[in-house]
């Protein structure tokens, strides 16, 4: 029984990280229909910026985190303006290739700037202490990761539902030309979307870095799992994506704990292919047949 609880806690805490990345990807996909493969590297670069602030400039964690959020917002905007805006008549393949290209550029820049060495990423929460549920320990960082992901999900939900910009973003997704005609500054909205998503990803990066070690390869695996979570839940549903992320985390941990550690990292993909066979647009999104 105790191992069951431990696995749940492990699954939820790593799932929370996946959920944040999934959310970041969905924000972009929802508005622009671009599956952003560069999400992981954007988060990794953000984590490196936070690390540099703390390590080289000796700023506190919260100060560095704030600067990093601003930086990542600008990074997202910059990527949109320089890579996606100039592309005309972008189809899904073009979008994938552009974001893959952006991923390679960011990966290369990080390797060039910070080298391949591993770095410790300090956080003000303890990684080893916390409170207990039954016999299982929930560490502070696990707890705060979970809280952060839930809070961000709620904030995003409220944002899309009740703010003008949020509604405008929905409008842009549904019909770009109509939105333009209604006086929505579509280009600025798209740029803002990327900024927002990049910020969400940066939070994920700063939460994953202390659990792993900070190096340019850090986000390769979490980013794929986050993407898988987003696809599992449905690329256009925010809560769906978050739940998908948690599910991936849980599936992985249970599979690793009870069945086989060797195939733990691919079981998520097997499950996804199976589910997609029956629900081609993910669990929480209604599948639309394309019409003439």
């Amino acid at each position: 029984m105790s191992i069951f609880l431990d696995l749940v806690i492990g699954g939820v805490s790593v799932g929370a990280c996946y959920a944040l990345i999934a959310l970041a990807m969905v924000i972009i996909y929802k508005t622009t229909e671009v599956p952003n493969f560069a999400q992981g590297e954007m988060a990794m670069v953000a984590a490196f910026v936070a690390f540099t602030m703390m390590d080289d400039y000796h700023l506190g964690f919260w100060m560095s985190a704030t600067i990093t959020l601003v930086f990542s917002f600008l990074l997202g905007c910059a990527l949109e303006i320089s890579f996606l805006r100039p592309a005309k008549d972008l189809n899904i393949l073009g979008a994938i290739v552009i974001t893959l290209g952006a991923e390679m550029i960011l990966y290369g820049l990080a390797g060039w700037k910070w080298g391949a060495n591993q770095n410790p990423f300090p956080v003000p929460f303890s990684e080893y202490d916390g409170f207990r549920i039954g016999s299982a320990l929930v560490t502070e960082i696990n707890f705060w990761t979970f809280v952060t992901s839930v809070v961000i999900m709620l904030l995003l939900f409220l944002f899309f539902r009740f703010t003008k910009v949020g509604v405008a973003m929905k409008a842009v997704q549904q019909n770009m030309f109509a939105a333009k005609a209604m006086g929505i500054p579509t280009r600025r909205i798209l740029t803002f979307t990327w900024g927002l998503s990049s910020m969400t990803g940066a939070v994920a990066g700063m939460l994953i870095a202390p659990l792993a070690t900070l190096d340019p390869n850090m986000m390769l695996d979490p980013m794929l799992k986050g993407f898988a979570g987003a696809v599992l839940g449905g690329m256009t549903s925010l809560p769906g994506a978050a739940i998908g992320g948690y599910m991936i985390g849980l599936i992985e941990n249970f599979f690793g704990g009870y069945i086989s550690l060797e195939f733990k990292s691919v079981v998520a993909f097997a499950v996804i292919v199976l589910i997609l066979c029956f629900k081609p647009s993910g669990l929480f999104v209604k599948h639309f047949e394309r019409k003439v």
Partner: protein
């Protein structure tokens, strides 16, 4: 008009095709003033961390050159980045053989990358000294032109398990290994000792290179009730498993293999958890030569960020080669070089221990020593050199 253009293009094509014709020199890669030596090392990609080794070798050759070279010849060093991809390593191997024409090859990180070039290097009679993994593939079966230095993983795992059980008195030993050639060779060694001692490893837990979340791994080992865990993994995974296990309330005696022997770095990336970890070493940091090498690094590579154990390993793995070149002297060709290398017996004027090459055994080093990580990340030596002697086979 078009015909004319076509002709012009055809002629251009012919010229391009004909130009690159190379001439071969007498002894490949050796002139009266120069020896060409090559090394591949991942400067990019997933294994870029080990790229420091190849850069260290570069500094060592600069040092040798500044001291007058070897028998009047200066070393010309070619460092190539293979990104840890065998297809690229193969291309680099061909480039070394065919395009640059190196005399000998030193170091080289990775077993699968090395295996992609081993046979073509051997066929072209290029001596390869000191591949940077302790794989069995280098010396079994014996390759005439391949000289291995890194203590074999199987031997090292045997010695470490033996040490854990006999000197540390641990009864329940678990093995945590990377699920590939590197980790599995370690596992093989540990199993060999267990079989001999008539005990069983209480858990054998594999980790995939891409894994980041190791909670279920930690729980598996906790469940087994192990009081010591031997690690055969990447630094990243060692750091994650220490943190995750502590969070899961599992704190055995951790024992790490020599690829994790840079205790200062490990202490840093584990935020202090590395304290008390026992690990194997192949490189003697107390050796007086270290001071000289550090000075060389400050002179020739002042910008180098990482100057720990693996940067110095770049020096260490080239030392027997330079010794061999010195012994071969003025009359240098592949055969004299091989003969000279095979005269090295119990040689200790380097960072390792008892380098010995014989015509029937090209495994140069078979010893490790054990250290413990001190409270500030400094290594505290626990044992003298322990040698894997033939009776343990």
């Amino acid at each position: 008009m078009k015909r004319l253009l076509l002709c012009v293009f055809a002629i251009l094509l012919c010229i391009i095709v004909v130009i690159p014709v190379y001439s071969e020199d007498k002894v490949r890669g050796v002139t009266d003033t120069e020896i060409k030596i090559g090394q591949w090392g991942p400067q990019t990609g997933p294994a870029a961390l080990w790229g420091a080794v190849a850069r260290g070798t570069g500094v060592y050759f600069d040092l040798v050159n500044s001291e007058g070279g070897i028998a009047g010849r200066k070393i010309k060093y070619y460092l190539r980045d293979d990104g840890y991809q065998p297809a690229k390593t193969k291309a680099i191997g061909k480039e070394f053989i065919d395009d640059i024409g190196v005399f000998t090859v030193v170091g080289g990180v990775g077993t699968s990358t090395g295996m992609a070039v081993r046979d073509s290097l051997m066929e072209n009679e290029i001596v390869w000294v000191g591949p940077l993994t302790g794989s069995d593939n280098w010396t079994e079966p014996l390759q005439k032109y391949l000289f291995a230095i890194y203590p074999k993983y199987t031997d090292e795992a045997y010695l470490l398990t033996e040490y854990t059980a006999e000197k540390l008195g641990k009864k329940k030993i678990a093995f945590f290994y990377q699920n590939d050639d590197y980790g599995k060779e370690g596992l093989k060694g540990a199993q060999k000792w267990a079989k001999k001692a008539g005990v069983k490893l209480v858990a054998e837990v594999p980790v995939e290179v891409t894994d980041t979340d190791l909670k279920s791994h930690a729980l598996k080992m906790k469940q087994s009730g192990a009081d010591a865990v031997i690690m055969w993994v990447l630094p990243k995974h060692a750091a994650i498993i220490l943190g995750t296990s502590k969070a899961a309330g599992f704190q055995p005696q951790w024992v790490a293999c020599s690829t994790l022997s840079d205790s200062a770095m490990m202490y840093n990336i584990t935020k202090g958890l590395w304290e008390g970890v026992i690990f194997g070493n192949f490189l003697d940091m107390d050796n007086p030569l270290i001071k000289k090498y550090k000075a060389a690094q400050e002179k020739f590579a002042p910008n180098e960020k990482y100057t720990g154990v693996f940067f110095l390993a770049g020096f260490m793995f080239a030392e027997p080669m330079v010794e061999g070149l010195k012994r071969a002297g003025k009359d240098l060709n592949t055969q004299t070089f091989v003969k000279a290398l095979e005269t090295i017996r119990n040689w200790n004027d380097w960072l390792g221990h008892d380098c010995t090459f014989t015509p029937t055994d090209h495994q140069g080093m078979k010893s490790i020593f054990v250290s413990k990580c001190g409270p500030k990340g400094e290594p505290v030596r626990l044992s003298d050199w322990i040698t894997f002697t033939d009776d343990k086979k």
